[in-house]
């Protein structure tokens, strides 16, 4: 418990002393507010949007859930840049403890933003249990993304490039809603396809619980692979 407090207190100081990170922490709340009040108004003006509101919800859940990934990626890229990671490696803790705590914080923030997005926007009428369970796989996306950025980017500039690239790939599964037939399943190679399908199956006939299970397992596997690669490349 003490260790969690140590890490979180340190991280909060790092976030609140950097104006960019500080703003990033509150952007998801602004997005959720805009969605809550803006989407119904838009739906009135553009009634053709109606079939896509759940896709829009899924997209915005992912967008808000990504902000913790951006924040922590910047923090860890700074730690990499400033050689602080080397100091952490020579602390009397297991090499993985530090990373696990960081990924946990990212996940908790993402989970919070996802639950809030689903619950506050009122687009779906899900039970609290379904909101919480559906938010679990979404909250794994951000730590996976963060791991990729930390492992492969050497500095913040490269980090931003990675973020842009990964964001583009992340939202490619949206295209599957415009493809009828078995071709849409080729998007299944992308992990976020299964999360999108949790929110709105579209033409797919795969039931919710299968989409959910694949989304959860796929992201857990990616997380474990990411941790392994991090250990090999960053904390060898």
């Amino acid at each position: 418990m003490n260790r969690i407090l140590t890490y979180s207190r340190n991280d909060m100081k790092l976030i609140f002393r950097d104006p960019i990170l500080y703003v990033m922490l509150f952007v998801p709340l602004v997005i959720i507010g805009l969605l809550r009040f803006g989407l119904p108004a838009l739906a009135e003006v553009f009634p053709d949007m109606e079939p896509y509101t759940k896709v829009i919800l899924g997209t915005f859940c992912l967008i808000t859930a990504m902000f913790p990934a951006y924040i922590y990626s910047f923090i860890m890229l700074d730690e990499k840049d400033q050689d602080v990671l080397i100091v952490i490696r020579v602390l009397p803790i297991s090499s993985i403890e530090f990373l696990v705590f960081r990924l946990l914080f990212i996940s908790v923030f993402s989970f919070f933003f996802t639950v809030l997005t689903i619950a506050v926007t009122g687009i779906v009428d899900w039970s609290p249990a379904k909101i919480i369970t559906a938010s679990l796989p979404v909250s794994l996306v951000a730590p996976v993304m963060s791991l990729f950025i930390i492992v492969f980017a050497r500095n913040k500039i490269e980090g931003v490039t990675w973020m842009k690239g990964l964001n583009f790939i992340m939202f490619l599964p949206v295209l599957s809603y415009f493809i009828k037939g078995s071709y849409e399943y080729t998007f299944g190679i992308l992990p976020l396809y299964w999360i999108f399908k949790m929110f709105e199956p579209g033409f797919s006939s795969i039931p919710y619980y299968i989409n959910y299970s694949i989304a959860l397992i796929y992201h857990l596997v990616l997380l474990l692979v990411g941790i392994r690669v991090f250990k090999l490349r960053v904390f060898p």
Partner: protein, 284 residues
């Protein structure tokens, strides 16, 4: 305390060995220095000894236990000072020390340490605004936070002015006085001379010689004294006399008795000269 046998290391993708067949033993309470030019393999050796570089061959034993058998508890026993400052720049000096100190169970005296290196009045300043010298000093005391038995210090005085360099060297000597074992890497011969009980010259990953600084200087110097004296009026003369039986050297004794002696220097070599003589390289 620390023993390396046939230690060899090659960076992945490199064709040359950064450490070649190194053999050395550091006794408890000793300050042992690796002296060599940049890129000689000093920092690489230190990184291997502190467990940051894997994939070496040979054997390393620290506190009687193979390095490979140590778990993270190893870092409770060793303090590491890196060559380049590495801090959370957005945190204050005190916050940095408290964060890293919180991982150790031993009681820490943050203010006492800051005071020792002249940073007490800057304890609550953001490290981003520190000068290089201040960051280096903060780096140094971080290694002492948990009162470790062994200190690994990589170029501990680099980037420091003479006053602060003196402070750091005094603390290192204080640590030795209370029984700490210290491994220092440096390319500064004066530091090595002043601090180390024994030094090893390292060049291109190879240890060329290991000896006490005093012995090295004696072995490679001239066994003579040089006397500078005024020979009437403004004329200054210089003469050298062999050290052997110097008390029986009549010419030497005459100068002492009858001339105005300006200086007398024994002709032992400086470490710099010994290094060049032994390795054929400069210490830069």
């Amino acid at each position: 305390m620390i023993q390396a046998d046939n230690l060899t290391f090659q960076y992945p993708g490199s064709h040359v060995q950064a450490a070649r067949n190194l053999n050395f033993r550091i006794e408890p309470g000793e300050i042992f220095g690796f002296l060599g030019p940049s890129g000689a393999g000093k920092s690489t050796t230190q990184k291997i000894l502190i467990g940051l570089l894997k994939g070496y061959t040979g054997k390393i034993s620290i506190m009687g236990k193979s390095l490979e058998d140590w778990d993270p508890d190893f870092y409770n026993h060793v303090g590491i000072g890196f060559e380049l400052p590495n801090h959370y720049l957005k945190l204050t000096a005190m916050e940095n020390l408290r964060f890293f100190g919180s991982f150790y169970s031993r009681k820490k005296d943050y203010l006492g340490l800051l005071e020792k290196v002249g940073l007490l009045q800057d304890a609550n300043k953001i490290v981003e605004n520190f000068s290089k010298s201040m960051k280096v000093r903060l780096n140094f005391i971080r290694a002492l936070l948990h009162d470790p038995e062994i200190l690994f210090l990589d170029e501990p005085t680099t980037g420091l002015d003479p006053v602060n360099s003196r402070k750091i060297k005094d603390i290192i000597l204080d640590q030795k006085a209370i029984g700490k074992t210290i491994f220092v890497t440096t390319h500064n011969m004066h530091d090595a001379d002043e601090l180390c009980d024994r030094i090893s010259f390292i060049v291109d990953g190879e240890l060329m010689i290991t000896e006490t600084p005093k012995q090295l200087k004696l072995d490679h110097g001239k066994h003579k004294v040089k006397v500078e004296y005024a020979d009437g009026g403004q004329l200054i003369k210089v003469k050298e006399f062999p050290l052997k039986d110097i008390g029986k050297d009549q010419k030497f004794m005459d100068i002492l008795k009858t001339r105005e002696v300006i200086s007398i220097h024994s002709q032992e070599a400086s470490l710099d000269e010994v290094f060049i003589k032994v390795t054929g390289k400069n210490l830069l």
